[in-house]
Every structure is written in C-alpha cells, then in structure tokens.
C-alpha cells in the first residue's frame, strides 16, 4: 500500500465538500449574529465548486483508486452530479426558514454538508467498507439534523426513532456484509462478484448474506415492511431536515443498492430479484393506500416516498441494463420532485408557522399563481401524468419490467398508481379549487428562492418533454 497523489484527483468534489464543511465550522465561530448568512453563501459556493469539479474530473474510462476502495465511473459521475445539484436547490430553499427561527447557524450547514459528503462516498465506493463508512457518515449527520430544532419535542422523538431504527438497519447491513465476506473472502466488489460467479447458488451463507443486505437496503430506502421510521421522521423533523433527508439520500440509496447487488452480486440476481418483487409490491400498495388517509402533508409525502421506492425497485429487479438505467432515472427524478415539494412547504412556512397540514395549501393559486403552478407540476409529476417527467420515469420502469415478461407486475404497478393519483390530485384541489384562509398573508420569498423553484418545477416539465439526454446519460452509465 502506498500513497499516490494522483488518487486525489477523482475525489476532488469530496475534498471540496470536506474543506467547505471545515471552513464553515471555523468561520461560524467568528461571524457576528447578523452575518450568519455568510455560512449560507459559503456553502452554496462550495457546492457550486464541487459540481464544477464533478464535471471536470468526470468522463472517460472507469478508474479504481485507493487500492480498490473507491471507483469513479459513469455511474459515479452522474449520481454525484445529481446529488450535488439537488442539494444545492435544497440549500437555497432552507435559508429563510432557518433565519426566521434564529437557526441560521453553522452547525446546520456543517451537518448537511457532511451528510452530502457521506452520500458522495457511497456513490464512489468500490468495496463494502467505504460504502458502509459513507452510509454511516450520511446517517449520523442526518440523525443530528432531525434533532436540529433542540426545543422541539417531536423533533427529538423523531431523531431518536430514526437513530434506533437506522442503527438497526445498518446493523443488518453490516451483518450481511460479514456473511458475504465469509463466503467469498473479499470485501471488494469485483473479487466478490468473481467468487460468487464461481460458487453460484450453492453457498447457504451467501444467500443468507444477501437476505440481510436486501433488508439493509430496504431499511435505507424505507421500503415496506422496513418503512416504519419514514412517516414519523418526516412528520417530526423540521421541514429543512426533511427536505435534505427526503431528496438526495434516495439517490445515494440507489447507489447503495446498485453497488452491492449489481457490482457485487449480479450473478445471484434470481435470488434478490424475488426479494425485491415482494418489497416492491408491498411498498407500492401500502404507500399509495395509506397516503390517502393522511391529513398531514409531510406524512402524506412520506407514504408517497414509500410508493416511489416500490417503483425504483421495479427497475432494479428487472436485472437488465435498461432496468438499472430506468431505476437510476427514477431515483434522480424522484429526488428533484421531492426537493420541489418540500421546497414549497418551506416557502409556505413563515415565522411561527409551519406549513404541515394539507389545508395550509388552500388557495395557493390566489396567493401566488406561479408557486401554485410549480407545486401542481410536482404533484402531477409524482402522479405520473404526462407531459411531466414523472410519467417518463414510470414508463421506463414499466418497460423494463415488461421486457422480462413480468406483465403482471406492471399491471400491479399501474393499478396502484391510479390509487396514488387520488391523493396527489387532492393536493392540486387544495391549491386551485379552494379559497385561501382569511388570515393567510401574502407569500414573501427572495428572488433566489423563486429562481430555484422555477428551475426545479420547469425541469420536471422540460425533462418530461425532452427526456432523451438524461436517459442517454443513465443508459451510458450501465452500457
């Protein structure tokens, strides 16, 4: 093992994030109360640089470095870019919420940046160890973020639940990894894949390990029956934390699944396919049906997440390049949609008031027609109605499933998406068909938020009309 400085180049985005986090941590000590906004600016600049660097170091042949621990390939490039861009949007939305509540402090940004750093490491992992380390960095930062509003009882409770269940999920995952290590003698994906291909299905330990891996993945995604934490955390955590943990981490979770199941255990596809089928059907069913009963919009979006996870699994379980590409497309699109939905909730919140109930969206069209249109786009996209990108994502996933002759699964999926359409429509109903409450003040937002939300909403439309470029990127990643 020796140190080679060239190894540092592909992880420049990660290094940038780490430096940004450190700078914010130190700068925060010296900033006066009224200058705390600089933390925000610093973070945005750091993320922007990281995005540029992702583009700069990306492309070309896959590189494995740090003695096979990390990898940079097309999957890494695309997912890193998507995580950073979605996070950038999220940071723009959270500022006024934090400011109104006197929470515009460095810690929020440091924790969020470290979470993003963890996601990037997951995306770049080429062995089980860095994958797990990235996951834990992300998870620990997010636990703390959920408890960020230290006076909030609900927040503390949510953080505790998240921590306990998250630790359980991580434990399962780690246990599964140890089984795989025991069966194959390696924690690097390529040797694991080779060993598995040679041993085949015969090894009971291996199958046992896969079961635990899938459970771990299910926990991290929030798939049924490992979904219990999702609604409570979404409801209890402060909205900015939900925004950050509800959007980009789905992309990271996708990376987790793709690295372990595909890079490592592709030859056991028939095994994990069956497990994912069960998780997918349960998630789509329970998520869509239970979401109907929610009156808290954060809780509703939590169940909606669960149902979308089912769709992402459909692409994964197809086990083909098309399938992985469609699941990747879906994860990225979902992260953008979730960022938009929680962004609108932040915009609707003001000092001393959090938009949490569906009624809080009443008459948004009368209060601000543009934000109303953006939220409607997000909702129609989540429901999968063309011409928004949510439809394209569903189309691609269904295509992958029908391609492997699982037409019944596609029928189940579309059936549940009809049920799902109802609660998304209900949101549109509140926005457009109802009159605003009498005490609803006019919305005040900064120009930056307006620009970011416009980009976010219109991206859903633009990607829906011109999906070819993003799709080509996704497909190239698995070609």
């Amino acid at each position: 093992m020796h140190f080679d400085a060239a190894n540092l180049i592909p992880i420049l985005p990660e290094i940038t994030l780490l430096i940004t986090a450190s700078v914010v941590l130190i700068a925060d000590l010296y900033l006066k109360e009224q200058d705390k906004g600089r933390n925000h600016t610093l973070t945005l600049v750091g993320l922007a640089i990281a995005i540029v660097l992702t583009g700069a170091v990306g492309g070309g042949e896959p590189q494995v470095f740090f003695d096979g621990n990390l990898i940079r390939d097309d999957v890494t490039d695309l997912l890193r870019g998507a995580i950073l861009i979605v996070s950038l949007l999220a940071f723009v939305y959270v500022r006024s919420w934090l400011q109104d509540r006197g929470m515009l402090v460095g810690e929020f940004y440091v924790l969020a940046l470290l979470a993003i750093l963890g996601m990037l490491i997951m995306v770049s992992a080429n062995s089980f160890l860095p994958l797990y380390l990235g996951l834990e960095l992300q998870a620990l930062s997010l636990y703390a973020l959920v408890a960020f509003d230290r006076d909030s009882q609900k927040g503390a409770e949510a953080a505790m639940k998240y921590f306990v269940l998250g630790a359980l999920g991580s434990g399962m995952l780690l246990y599964g990894i140890s089984m795989i290590y025991g069966a194959t003698g390696s924690i690097e994906f390529a040797p694991v894949a080779q060993a598995v291909a040679e041993q085949g299905m015969s090894d009971k330990v291996l199958v046992f390990g896969i079961a635990f891996l899938v459970i771990g993945i299910g926990f991290k995604f929030g798939a049924v029956p490992f979904h219990m934490w999702v609604p409570d955390i979404y409801e209890g955590a402060p909205t900015p934390a939900v925004l950050i943990l509800g959007s980009a981490p789905k992309i990271a979770a996708f990376a987790l699944a793709i690295r372990m199941l595909v890079d490592g255990l592709q030859s056991l596809h028939p095994d994990w396919q069956q497990m994912l089928v069960i998780l997918a059907v349960l998630s789509m069913g329970l998520g869509n049906v239970v979401a109907i009963a929610q009156s808290n919009i954060k809780r509703m979006l939590a169940y909606s997440t669960i149902s979308h996870v089912g769709f992402i699994f459909l692409g994964l379980l197809a086990g083909s390049q098309q399938g992985y590409a469609s699941a990747m497309f879906y994860s990225i699109v979902y992260a953008v949609m979730a960022a938009g939905a929680f962004g609108i909730l932040l915009i609707l919140s003001r000092e001393g008031f959090d938009a949490e109930r569906l009624e809080d969206l009443k008459g948004l069209n009368d209060r601000d027609a543009w934000y109303a249109a953006m939220m409607a786009l997000v909702m129609f996209s989540m429901a999968g109605v063309p011409p928004t990108v949510g439809f394209m994502a569903k189309l691609l996933v269904l295509e992958a499933v029908i391609r492997i002759d699982m037409v019944w699964l596609a029928l189940v999926a579309v059936f549940f998406s009809i049920i799902g359409a109802f609660y998304y429509l209900r949101v549109v109903k509140y926005i457009y068909f109802d009159k605003p409450a009498d005490d609803a003040p006019a919305l005040t937002t900064t120009g930056g938020v307006r620009v970011a939300m416009s980009i976010n909403g219109l991206a859903l439309l633009a990607l829906g009309v011109f999906p070819a470029s993003l799709l080509a990127l996704c497909q190239a990643a698995f070609a």
Partner: protein, 526 residues
C-alpha cells in the same frame, strides 16, 4: 408534400398562445381575451390548411412529420393525418373558437387562466388526433386531463371537486392499462409506431388482452355503458366551455381510439368480441335514452343524450364484423364506420350548441333545472328559435346533420341483424321524446315566473356563436358529401385491414374473419 409543418403548427400554436395569455395575467383582461381569440382563430385557419391540402384519394398518412424523440427506445415525434383524424382536428380547432367566445363576459374569476387552459387543451387534443407514435399519443392523451381537471375544478358548479376528481380517476384508470398494452406491443414489434402496430402479428390471447386494455381506455372516454357515470357529473359541474369541449371533442377521442387502435391492431379479438360492444352500444342507446327522459337538469339530460348518441358511433364501428362474416350480405361495412364518423362530427356541433344554449340560460338565471323555466320563447325569441332548431337536430330530424349519421348506422345495422337495427332505431322515438319534451317545458308555454319574464334575448356575441353552429349543422345535414369524400378512402382501407387475420401461422385455423381474395393472397405469401 407540404413545406410548412402544418400539424406541428396546429398543435403548438394554441399551446404557445395559452402560455402567452397565462403570462399576460389578469391585469389587462380585455387584452388577454382578444389574444386568446386571435390564437384560436389563427389555429383554426392553420388547420383549414390541412383540409385544403388534403389528398382524399389515398389512405396513406399525410402531412407526415417524423423526428426522433427518445432514440434509445425508438420513440419518435411522429405526426400524420388520414381521412379519419383530419376532420376531427378541424372540428377541434373550430369548436375552440366558440368556447373562447362563450366565456367572454361570463368568466370573471381569473379569465386568463381559463382561456389559457382551453387553448392548451386545443393543442393537446389536436396532438392526440395527429400522433402516430404510441408514446406521443399517450402523452397527449393523458396531458389532456390536466387542463380539463383544472377547468372543471376551478370554474365549475357547487359539486365540482367530486366531479372533477371522478372524471380524472375514471379516465386515468382506463388509460394506464392501455399503456401496458402499448409497451407490450413495443416489445413485439420493436417500435412505438402505431402504423407498425397495425401490421403486427399477434396471437389470440394477446389480442384479447390488448383489446380489453384498449376497451377500458376508450370505453371510459366515449363513454360506454356501464363506465359512463363520470360524464353526467362532469357535464353538470363543468362551466359551459368545459361541457362543450367534453361533449364535442373529448368523447370523440374515445371513438377515434377504436378506429386507430382497437380495430386495426386487434381485428381478430374485435371480431370475436364484437357482440360485447354491440350489446353495450344498444344498451347505451335504449337504456340511457330512457334515463335521459327522466332528467330534471338540462345539462344532465344533454349529457345522457350524448351517451346515447355515442352508442351509435360504437355500434357503427363494430357492426362491420357481422357484415363481413355474413356471406349473404355484400357491402355496407364501409357505411357503418362512415356513419359513425359522421355521427361524431355532427354530435360535436349539436351537443356543443346545446350546451352553449344551456349556458346562455344559466348565465342569466343561474339554474339548470328544467322546472325553473317555461315560456322562454316569449322573452327570448332568438334563443327559442335556436334552441328548437338544435333540439330537432339532436332528435335526428332529416335535413340536419344528426339525421345523416344515425341513418347510415341504422342502415348498416339492418344488413347485419334486423332486431339490432330495430333497437337502434328506437332512438328516433326516444331522442325525439327527451329533447322535444325538454324544449316544450323550457321554451314553450306561458311565462312561468319573474325570472323568465326578466330574461333578455341573445346579444350579438351569442347570436354569432349559435348562428355559425346552426349553419354548420344544416350544411352537414344537407350536403355531407365533402366530409364523406375526405374520409372514404381511409375508411375503405380500414375495412379491408380489419378483414386480415392477424393471428400467427400456428393459429390460422381459428380465424373468424373471412379470407377475401386479396387477403388470401397476403396470407399465402407468408
């Protein structure tokens, strides 16, 4: 053939217009109204270019535009029209003008959003009729729901939320299964082109499943009994313009779907299940006719009458199989489909006009109950004349367009089976009964109450609106030949196409369809 991409223009011009109107906001209400009208008329003029440039001697797709859209899945931006879709496109752009005018003074809440929704709707519906790529078709098909959902929900009546969500979910329910069928066929044929689907060989089991998927999608849209229940709700709650678009265009999209998808893609399944469609159509005609008779609400009555009339359309489309499989009958198969087509266009004019008439009354009295009116003719002679005229047309009076389509379908049905035709013909009595009885109660008689006494007659805007539609109904009734000429080649080709057994070689023995000489030669080739 034609340098200008006319279809693209017809689709995107109103959509851009809608966005312009939306951006103009509600500060300059007059300006946005005139902009909307200008875009609607401009779109109609562009679509007239389609009619003028149309070559009616061929069944080939015309004005074809084909650009790759999502290359990795072979999805294309593929547009084209034939004799079936072109008249429907012109009908769409034509009716949109009246919808814009009808909302002129009535809509006071956010009129720019209202007009924009209709303009966007216009473009999207033209897109549905002209798309030849299945994904493109589906995108337009579903995109249609969004503006209509908003139109009914925002500008509709008291029970609008229930009605619009029901409308959306019903239609969404029907169409997602079609999506699965379309993707399945993509894997069979390797392309999403609808024209490739037409020549795709499919086994009987697959055909039946695909046929049912299509049936779910199109039957909801048409709507056919028993999935029609969304329509009365949607119609009653929708603002006048929304009802007009629903009745005049959106229902036709279901009928169009049968012609573009069900018949040519799954002819064998259609042939073996035609009894189902015919039975449902006859139920729609007879049973729904009786239901219409007892309605208290004018809009509901017209909505039920629409369902009954659309029963004729589906009857005409599917009667073709009984005719071609019956060796004792020759000819007439083309007449059924053409009759259905004429019925669709004619119903577009008549139902649109009737909803506009009800809208005129509703704007003044704010009631749709028949019982609240009586003797309207005394205070509104112009209106009374129009109302009686359109009611006659709805009842199928010879000389109006309502007669032509129904007559052709009944004639075609006679060749297949006397009793079917007998049941279908009861509509001549039923439709006369429910429309004329309504007219009697609303228009004629003594002035019933103060509100009716205070009615003012049509203004110029309304007279122009109804007058033009009246002229169209009369023209189509007296001289349907231009319309028939346009579609004749296409329909003949379609009838030939549905007589080709599409089962794979192993299942050829199960072919229900007669193998005509021309068809026999195609069969022998493979």
């Amino acid at each position: 053939m034609n340098e200008l991409p006319l279809l693209t223009l017809t689709i995107w011009l109103p959509i851009i217009g809608g966005l312009v109107v939306l951006a103009s906001g509600d500060k300059e209400k007059e300006l946005s109204k005139w902009t909307a009208l200008a875009f609607a008329i401009l779109t109609f003029l562009v679509s007239l270019g389609l009619w003028i440039g149309f070559d009616s001697s061929t069944a080939e797709m015309q004005f074809v535009e084909r650009v790759s859209w999502i290359p990795s899945f072979n999805v294309e931006y593929f547009l084209g029209v034939d004799g079936i879709s072109m008249p429907l496109i012109v009908l769409t752009t034509f009716i949109t003008i009246f919808v814009v005018i009808a909302g002129w003074e009535v809509i006071t809440y956010k009129p720019s959003q209202y007009l924009a929704a209709f303009l966007i709707m216009d473009g999207v519906m033209v897109g549905v009729f002209s798309a030849l790529d299945a994904v493109l078709f589906y995108v337009f098909w579903e995109a249609m729901l969004i503006p209509m959902f908003i139109i009914i929900g925002v500008w509709g009546g008291p029970n609008r939320v229930y009605a619009t969500i029901k409308f959306f979910l019903y239609t969404f329910f029907g169409s997602v299964f079609m999506l699965v069928a379309l993707i399945y066929m993509y894997f069979q044929s390797g392309s999403f082109s609808i024209l490739d689907f037409h020549t795709l060989e499919l086994g009987m089991k697959a055909q039946i499943l695909i046929f049912i998927a299509f049936l779910l999608a199109f039957a909801v849209k048409v709507p056919m009994f028993p999935v029609h229940t969304w329509l009365p709700d949607a119609h009653v709650e929708a603002p006048t313009g929304g009802s007009v678009i629903l009745a005049a265009i959106m229902l036709k999209i279901g009928g169009y779907g049968f012609l573009r998808f069900s018949l040519p893609i799954t002819p064998d399944a259609s042939a073996s299940l035609d009894w189902l469609i015919i039975a449902l159509s006859l139920i729609a005609i007879v049973y729904i006719g009786f239901v219409a008779l007892v309605q208290q609400d004018m809009k509901k009555l017209i909505a039920y009458s629409s369902i009954a009339h659309m029963g004729f359309v589906t009857l005409g489309f599917f009667i073709v199989f009984s005719i071609v499989t019956n060796p004792n009958v020759s000819g007439g198969s083309v007449m059924g489909i053409e009759g259905g087509m004429v019925q669709m266009i004619s119903h577009g004019f008549i139902s649109g006009a009737l909803f506009l008439c009800v809208g005129v009354l509703y704007d003044r009295v704010h009631s749709r109950e028949i019982a609240d009116y009586g003797g309207v003719i005394n205070t509104m002679p112009w209106f009374g004349a129009f109302m009686v005229y359109f009611a006659m047309a709805n009842a199928g009076l010879p000389g109006t367009s309502g007669f032509v389509g129904e007559f052709m379908v009944i004639l075609a049905t006679f060749r297949a089976d006397f009793w079917w035709a007998f049941l279908a013909a009861t509509t001549l009595i039923l439709a006369a009964a429910f429309t004329l009885w309504m007219v009697k109660r609303v228009v004629f008689g003594e002035v019933k109450n103060d509100k009716v006494a205070a009615l003012r007659d049509l203004d110029l805007r309304e007279r122009i609106n109804l007058g033009v539609l009246a002229a169209a109904v009369l023209a189509l009734g007296l001289w349907p030949a231009p319309l028939m000429n346009v579609m004749h080649a296409t329909v003949e080709n379609l009838v030939e196409q549905v007589q080709i057994c599409k089962l794979p070689a192993a299942e050829r023995g199960d072919c229900l369809l007669p193998v005509s000489e021309r068809v026999a030669s195609t069969l022998n080739q493979d």
